[in-house]
Structures are given as C-alpha cells and as structure tokens.
Amino acid sequence: MGEAAKKLPNIVINPKLCKGCSICVDFCPTNVLEMRGTCVAVKDLAACTRCQLCDLRCPDFAIQVFD
C-alpha cells in the first residue's frame, strides 16, 4: 500500500473544552500536535500512530483520536 493510500486518523478537538494545558502536545511521541494560542491544533496528521496518549492524558475531554 502506497503512502498516499494510508488511512489517516481523525483527531477530534473540542476548542470549547480545551484549556491549553499542553499536556497532549508534550506527551505526543511523534509531535503531531501544537499549541495555537490557548487551544491545541493538529500540526502533522500523517505522523499520528493512534497511540491515544493525548486522549488518555487530556484532563478536559477535549481531544479524541478515531480511526
């Protein structure tokens, strides 16, 4: 399967719930996320390994990763 055909995960961020603590950004092992102002944003979706650490350690119910 070529790189282009690789299925990307769907990272759902709720900006109304995100408080900008940056825990998800710091713990992401492949640097997928970044802070934009006081809310998290996706920087490099293709690098996501679906490890779910951002979801597991988000205290605010603000981020989830779906297949």
């Binding site: 900008g20 713990f27 205290p59």
Partner: protein
Amino acid sequence: MSTPVSAEKKEKISVPFDYNKYLRPNKLPHIWCPGCGHGIVLKAMLRAIDKAGLEKDNIALVSGIGCSSRTPGYVDFNTLHTLHGRALPFATGIKMARPDMKVIVVTGDGDALAIGGNHFIHACRRNIDLTVLVFTNAVYGMTGGQYSPTSPLGAIATTSRYGNVEPPFDTCEIAKAAGATFVARGTAYHTLELEKTIHEALAHKGTSVVDILDACPTYFGRMNKYKSATHMMETMEKDGTVSVKQVDKLPADKVQGKMLRGVLHKIERPEYCEQYASLVQEKAQGK
C-alpha cells in the same frame, strides 16, 4: 518522552471511549484549572466503571468538599455532594440502606485525611463495601493552596512559606493499618494502569482505598518551581513512583524515596453490611 503503545496492547485499551454516555455534557467545561490531574482521574474512573459493566442508576457517587469533590457534578450517576470530610458517613448510610448499590466515594487528601480523618479510619475498620478514591494533590487547591496532610517535607504552600515541617501521611499505610481490605495506589500519569486498579477496586468486596497521585499545577506546581503540568507529571508521578511488580527487580538506589504503585494490600474479611444483615435475620428468627 513516552513510547507509543504497541499494537498488541492497543487492542486491549479502551479508547476512544464515549465519555458522554456517563457525563452531564451541559456541565462542561469543568472548573478544574488547566493541567489539573483530576480530569485524567475522572476519565480513568469512567472507563473502569464501563469495564465493570455497572448500571448508571445503580451507582452512587459521593463526595465531600474540595476540588476533587466537584467530580459528582459532572457525571450522570446518583450523586451526592456533602459536607467537608463527611463523604464517608453519607456513603455508609447509602450502603446500609441500599446494599445492592455500588457506592463510590471521591475525596481529596485533605478531605479524607485531615477534616475527615476519623471517618476514614472507621470506614476502613468496619470494612464496609465502599470504593474510596483519594485524589492526592498534596495541597488544598480550592481554598488557595494551603499545605495538606500529604504535602511532602519542605514543600512550599501559602501556609508554609518557608517549607513544610510536618511529615506527611502515607494514605495507603493508614488504610492498611485501619483495616481496609483492598489498598492500592495509582497516578494520573499511568492512566491505563490506574483504570485497571480502579476496576479491581470496584470488583473487591469490602472497603477498597485507591490513593491516586495527581498534580495541582496552579498552587503546588507554581509555588514549588515546577515548570508545567507535564513537568509535574513526569517528576512526581513517573519518576517519583515505582511499580510494586518491579520493586524487587530494581537496585536499591532506584527504589529509595519512591512511592509504591499498584495493588499493595488485598485480603478477605467479613463485610459490614452482610454481617449486619445476618445479625438482623438471626434475631428476627428469634434465635
């Protein structure tokens, strides 16, 4: 940096999880500060409850006063937000009236061990079937960052500007000494392990106490020179604890001064409600 979860483990993990099933979504966002560990613990608790297959209407979540005690406001169970330190007496009452119900107590370290210290030891002594989750952030966050019974020696707080001189309590040792039949410790950093520990605590018959270390970046973190919530989680929770399964394999210098994590004590002892019910039945039959 954390390593990614392997494919084998990934199949077992319970995320993505539909938290809205158990939440009152109109109550969010919660009041906890950015980076507060309580939200992480709440999520682990919800996943553990789901794993245990408990009915929403069959759970009573009881809390006292404090940051951690705001938890029942956000979840769609039978919830009770009670007096400071008195969550355990209320929970005991619920359990006595409805022994079929699963009663969970969420409480902070100050709430459980200082203001409600006597209730805590007596609930453990009775071995009544309650699951007690103690959110240990080592500070009274809601009232402005006073030091608590679990603040480490030398910690700066608003009431210990030159460092705390009182030695801290070890929640697990107290619970064990007082007679709790299931005693465990988890951290917000090791969130999957915490989920497993809470699941095990829910399955246990008798008083189960889980001491959960989480970070208060706003008060404890700022006053004790932690850079961020992540820094607190890495230094206090990851580097400050060692798993009870690994402790024998590690050299002594890597274990020294660290807290043990995992199930620390598990025994079987007659449960209070059952003993009480059998006594009532015995007397009703005129024996």
